[in-house]
Symmetry: D2
Subunit: 357 residues, 4 copies
């Protein structure tokens, strides 16, 4: 039951990395909406592999084909379905891996969960490739949100120990977010981008990988969306964020660091700016009691280093029930952070739109 999410929207994703194809069915979209397909392809290109020397050289054309839910270029209200056929798969790269459990990958838990029947090639249904349909769905949701004046953007907050500065939670503009969308390593401090690049290339050289954090922002969401308890904005976004492979943490507003403040500091004081209600600080990341307060939504997600490395690793052979050594070949990302930005934005868009419909 892993593949369906949503209340007013219902997103159903499917596919395996080396199967016939992957895709998504989206229920609940407003009718009569004219999707900007160029914009959808821009988002998908941000996630696609093979863009530059920081990512896997694996190429995917990743052109989604829409099967249903559109008529004369507009959404019909019926489920909107898109599929992407798999190409450029080299399944033999994975043939040796049937019984050797790759550390950090879902091989072993997946083997137990599915009784050994899961498609292990390229991580099968666990593959990051299944995020392509999420980006497709998110790109449409982003456009629907843009009509309501809402924009979602993100930047790389850190790669390894190299830190960019944070969003200013009250003054960042949509223009800044828009600019980030076109950058290879979107950061505020460009000197850091070069350091990050060198770290990634060094890891690649070693057959190793590095992680990082993503900082994401939702601008333009008015006060009053979300719910207390089970359908809080934080619950909704965190649920989706941990559906993105490799995410191991999420924090809203000042996050873990809010625990070092006193209440007199962490309570964001309200004031009127003309007719508008604002807060002087934004330690709560635009969300109190699970509901938006009109300030920007800010959160950070921790993205672990890709598990696929070519360095020799210790692991087990489950058919022989003994320890084993493993050297993986194939084409891998030394760092997934740049490609995960549009995925994180996409699921954020899906979550926010679901709460607003």
């Amino acid at each position: 039951m892993s593949g369906v999410w949503g209340n007013k929207l219902k997103i159903s994703i499917f596919g395996e990395s080396h199967g016939v194809g992957i895709g998504v069915v989206i229920n609940g979209l407003p009718t009569g909406f004219e999707v900007d397909w160029d914009e959808v392809l821009v988002e998908m290109a941000r996630r696609a592999p093979g863009q530059n020397d920081l990512t896997t050289p694996r190429k995917e054309s990743d052109l989604p084909e829409v099967l249903s839910g559109l008529f004369e270029g507009k959404t019909t209200g019926a489920p909107l379905t898109a599929i992407i056929r798999n190409q450029d798969t080299r399944s033999k790269d994975y043939s040796q891996l049937k019984n050797i459990m790759r550390p950090g990958q879902a091989d072993y838990p997946g083997h137990v969960r599915y009784g050994g029947h899961n498609d292990h090639r390229g991580s099968g249904h666990f593959s990051g490739r299944i995020t392509a349909p999420l980006v497709f769905a998110g790109a449409i949701c982003k456009q629907l949100l843009a009509e309501k004046g809402i924009m979602i953007g993100s930047h790389i907050k850190s790669i390894g120990t190299i830190q960019d500065i944070s969003f200013n939670e009250t003054t960042v503009t949509k223009e800044q977010l828009e600019k980030f969308k076109t950058e290879q390593l979107p950061v505020f401090n460009e000197a850091k981008a070069e350091e990050m690049k060198q770290l990634i290339l060094a890891a690649k050289q070693e057959g190793d990988s590095v992680g990082g954090t993503v900082e994401c922002m939702v601008l333009g969401l008015e006060a009053g969306y979300g719910n207390p308890f089970f359908d809080s904005i934080e619950s909704t976004l965190a649920h989706l964020m941990f559906s993105v492979p490799a995410v191991k943490g999420i924090e809203f507003g000042t996050g873990f660091a809010i625990t070092e403040l006193f209440g007199s500091q962490s309570n964001d004081a309200y004031y009127y700016e003309g007719d508008q209600i604002k807060t002087a600080t934004n330690h709560n990341g635009g969300i109190i009691g699970g509901i938006s307060n009109g300030m920007p939504i800010v959160f950070r997600a921790a993205v672990k280093p890709p598990a696929s490395i070519t360095k020799k690793q210790q692991t087990i052979n489950i058919s022989e029930k003994k320890d084993a050594e493993l050297v993986i070949e194939g084409r891998h990302d030394p760092c997934i952070v740049p490609r995960v930005l549009p995925v994180i934005e996409a699921v954020t868009a899906i979550g926010i739109l679901d709460l607003m419909l």
Copy 2:
């Protein structure tokens, strides 16, 4: 629709802080289970206010009354319902607050969300008091998990900047978790407990408050539970955790710090210990691909300082549409962390049981 959660379990919570009563309906419990009510009351007492000088002096007897779902002491398979009547409420404490939006509280977003019709007294349905039914439900789930050899426990990882040491993710025992349950400030390093206590009392003295982090562990969960994507263990637990008022962050395993490792470090190497499959490290917190790998589940949650402080605060009056000053009276917790431990354990139990049924 905020009050219902679950797939195989369905938990429906209700109530307002100063209404007639609060409670929970639990669908999907196994039948014929004999609940240990003493144990349930122990859990509820851990969360209850008025325990000592670190918590609010407000007293609640908090005795749940079971209305349905039990017959001859055992679960029937029909919905199990418990209610707790509200007592010792001093609603006049809140009468001045109808139009003054307390910073850090859900007053303003709740006012917008519910068109001004939400019960504002004592935060109404947003109150931390609504977590009492969650602890009730969680206490039953804990007992059902115990039958499967699973134990959930937690300690205070930090108060303000005072840090306890972390769980050793591979060697902590059920005995240690059990011991923590009876402590006022459960930490490994007892010297830190005294420091934490002083910090809390100092904040109380100032009419201020402090936050902290909770570290929680699930021991005994076998490999193979959870799902990729939308129903991952992380998604499930994070969803529930952010339903607990004041939680602003969650991280699994090494969490945000995993982003500073190389893949060759963060990939937990498998090995055989006799017939058992283990990992040498546990940076992934017992979860890979959203599914348990048989190692302990570990996560930390960030708990912000309570918003209810008696220090003077800047805010707004929404009926007069102008800025205002606010001094709140009433009886408040200077630090919610000790009382939130059983809540975090409870929702963890609910989430894990739901994934296992």
Copy 3:
């Protein structure tokens, strides 16, 4: 998981016939709605037992107590909860029945389903008594629908083989539906009411019971509500209707008899009456493609004779694993149809409101 229903509304019912109490939690109600409690009690009185010599002499005061979701008389947006404590239960009437499976009752399937742990007294959670909270919830939904110009009413279409005439699907007025609400045996043809009464009393005299059909109508629902496939109006209402104990059939519009028409007859022809679109006939009961077409919604439900009769019956003793004879004592309804009318209207109101929110 049997006790929760709904998409935008979420209704969670609970309770057993001879337990402590029964009730309902309603999520998703609009905020700021002032419930007319007299009207709620009128609906509950229509369902209550002990009204006259046609129903069981068992008395229930059935006064619901609202625990949450109301503030200053209006809905708050938080879950609205009401409980009804059980009274006048004579559990010893059922003590002999633990192992004797009453024919036509849920005793045997419930015993298997719940491993023998279900509360068997008075049918436990299977009892028709659990429909009281449904009527409570439905009464509130009816008031919310009335604000939108929508009225739901019903009459007895038949008792045994005694048939009333049917609604005229195009000309019945709200006044007629309103009048039915106050009648003991609401029918168009009053001569038939007397025949029905005699049949019920004769069955009662024999220690037997009779069934009947209910015809229900939704007036004032505009075109465009509902969905194709899984959330059609028919699917939604049928799902709810078969949740009402004793219902064994449902048909919309001309129903089973539509199968005897030609398409040229069953196709309801559209025409303009001024600006309004109407159909000349209403064989489709106001629903095409799962969606309302603006004509009255009409359906009939088949209600089987109450299973509780005092005549001697053949059955089994499951502890002794042999055949047995059974004579039930206790106080029972010889015919449930008059009391089921408000239940059918209530779940109709719940279903229609859910589709409209």
Copy 4:
């Protein structure tokens, strides 16, 4: 949100009659199951048009392509997706119909529901063609049920006023159900089959259409499946049945006729046949309290005459806001009953399997 159904299974269907393609995503299938594709194609062929002179001459090859969820011929546990590309569509047949609302079709309610943006060609998403993916999903569910000893079959109970005899609810065998699967007009009384055929051909000759009823049976389901109230077997099956276009009624067991019995008749008496518990009659259709009692499940569904007829009809033109006459051309089924049998069996299989998982 119309396109997703299920609890433990989740079925997501999509597509429009004249769009690019249709299909289904199935979540929750057991892993390691080897699907018999020949058997799937047999079921799909039963539903396919163009089989003989009783159905529309429109040809569809209707070969489903599996995109995901299979590996080495077995289910992986990941979502199983199949698509069918549309062919042989003659959209110009529908171009005149944009503003002329066909009586008995979803044109008008769909137009209002979707703001005029629904794909009107060939009924778009409302088309009976979308039942092909349901048959595909149901065919897999049938095979999984067969492994548990459960068989689902059906026959034509009536066409127009021509009635076949009913199933004997206690003695019908799996062999009889199997035989029905290969017949053009499966009935017990073969003389009736010829009468039915003549009626259908006569209607076709007139440019008219006829309806009928389907009787369906589930053999081999043990006692104890289902739930009281909202997830009763009847609620589950009725919900699905009314998702099948043209179904206007459903009744279980003796159905509407049970209302003419006395309780002493409708209470199915239990007895032991060796170790097995049986009932002497089966008026309740194998379901009491929403739960199976081990006897065969029996229900009948009313299927209205196809709305697509070539006779002249009265209707409206919604762009011109005036009455209009309509003569539809195109290729239509004079009677949908023979083709709807496998659809009804399919959704029955989906519903029963969902309750059993």
